[in-house]
């Protein structure tokens, strides 16, 4: 008997797989194999055809174009700012939702997830009603400080953070819950206050969730289009990110759109693979 029943225990369960199980359990049924093959085709074929259909000869001239460089640079800048905003704002929120009991916690947990299911265009409209020059909050920003947010680079970062934050919070909250508070209790027993516990115990143990959440937020930001174009517009140099640039190019020069899409694809896969191999090396 231990103190365990009083404290939620979530030691990570060992996963065991038996490589010989497949052979022993018999042939996989077609009823499962066929849909699985179709699903794989649905995911892979468009990517392959994009690669095949890209006029690679235009790559050099596209990369030399200043508007492409601007969009690329803005995309990188905004996605990094979005990740930073998620870490700085989302980590405390995930901690609050995962570790502190307060009235309305269940409601807040549910509300935080709403942007996940919200169509991005609706998110953009919602942001205008909040932060537009006549919006609920934007009105005061404009009247007191003369600040206008829509159609600026800041608006791009805000809209990206709006759509990416739930992914980040969900990931970190999941990590906090799987670690459980058993080590927090130990730290408190050793005299650590909550800030020290957060810094020296809770966060290091939840680090895999933080990294995964940051990668999710970054990927979500890289592809953000709907909320951005609604709330921030599509102005080269200030608010035109790669997806908006691709959308614009598609209407005049489909070949260029394919090249830009490839650039974005290679960039995102490259960074994710790089991060992944680093984590795998760590653990």
């Amino acid at each position: 008997m231990t103190i365990e029943p009083l404290l939620p225990d979530s030691r990570t369960r060992e996963r065991r797989s038996d490589s010989a199980a497949g052979a022993r359990l018999g042939r996989p049924p077609l009823l499962l194999v066929i849909p699985a093959v179709l699903a794989s085709a649905l995911l892979v074929v468009p990517l392959v055809s994009l690669v095949l259909d890209t006029p690679w000869s235009g790559l050099r001239s596209q990369l030399a174009s200043s508007s492409v460089r601007q969009a690329l640079w803005l995309t990188l800048l905004v996605s990094l700012c979005t990740v930073a905003a998620c870490v700085v704002l989302g980590t405390p929120l995930a901690w609050l939702l995962g570790r502190v009991m307060f009235p309305g916690r269940a409601l807040l947990r549910a509300l935080v997830l709403v942007p996940l299911v919200l169509p991005p265009v609706v998110a953009g409209v919602a942001l205008i009603t909040a932060l537009g020059r006549t919006g609920l909050v934007g009105r005061w920003l404009y009247e007191w400080w003369g600040v206008t947010i829509p159609y600026t680079t800041v608006a791009v970062v805000i809209s990206h953070t709006f759509v990416a934050l739930p992914f980040y919070v969900l990931s970190v909250q999941g990590a906090l819950e799987s670690v459980g508070d058993r080590f927090d209790v130990v730290a408190a027993g050793l005299g650590a206050d909550r800030w020290t516990t957060f810094r020296r115990v809770t966060m290091p143990l939840a680090l895999p969730g933080v990294l995964a959440g940051a990668a999710l937020a970054w990927a979500r930001s890289l592809g953000e289009f709907g909320a951005t174009i609604t709330f921030a517009g599509n102005y080269p140099g200030t608010t035109q990110t790669m997806p908006s640039k691709i959308y614009t190019a598609l209407q005049s020069d489909p070949g260029a759109a394919r090249i830009l899409s490839m650039i974005l694809l290679v960039l995102s896969i490259g960074v994710l693979v790089g991060l992944r191999s680093r984590w795998l090396a760590r653990t």
Binding site: A187, G189, L190, T196
Partner: protein, 325 residues
Amino acid sequence: MTGLEAHVEVPGRLQVDLSAAHGEVVAVIGPNGAGKSTLLAALAGLVPQRGSVSVDGRPWNDPPLDVRDRGVGLVFQDQRLFPHLSALANVAFGPRSHGVPRAEAERRAQAWLDRFGIRDLAGRRPATLSGGQAQRVAIARALALDPVLLLLDEPFASLDVGVATGLRIELARHLDAFDGITVLVTHDAIDALTLADRVVVLDAGRVAQIGTPLEVAGRPRTEHVARLVGLNVLREGERFVAFSPSVVTVSLTEPHGSARHRWPGVIAHAAPHGGSVRLLVTGAHDLLADVTPASTTELRLTPGREVWLSVKESSVETYSASVGS
């Protein structure tokens, strides 16, 4: 007023009075669900409780004192070493949380690892330590704070028997040198007999018996402790009757003659026990009887067989059932 004075009350689970002096080791034993761990958690401030706890005259729950301000050392069955910190950093965690500078905290932690004979493990992560090594680090971590109250929750339960024996001897040495109050929860009679100055037996959230290890082992008042120390204990009116399974006579018909204590029953279980066979016989009471392998065969003593048990008056010890005598 020095030492621990506790009246712990967790509604619906526990109501226990406990006092202990500095340097004293109190073992808490009892069946699962008796409230042993709840008692530890309440003393540590991990579960809300009514009643009062004071240490050296200082009240701990009026208003409730946070666990971090109580100065308790907690040792868990599963060690709970911080997996991302080295053994040294685990032990230094407590002093550092109390504002001791890093270098000094690590020097102290190293001294503790030395005392536990695990100096070489300082840089190792918990995942690379054996169970016994990890539990040494965990005990060192609890003691490094110089706690006024050391709470050990089944510290040997997750260890191999051989490892547990070695660590038990080592812990006894450290507890001798420790001038705080120790409360040790255990389900093992050996822990209580070898480590404790006093044994508290819990049953269904209440204290069933308090005494020295020898008193409790010799005159158990609960079925659970009787089983732990391998005795039969029966309540007869206002008295307890205790006797060893080895003095029980097993026969197939009702015994006649001098045996005043006799019970019919059915053999529920038979298993080798040392050089003899131990029978569990169920009837009005559950009783243990040790018989020779020869008589097991001769009388065909297998589960399901109806038998009579008897004990001579001279072989039983009787003592009053009223608590405190």
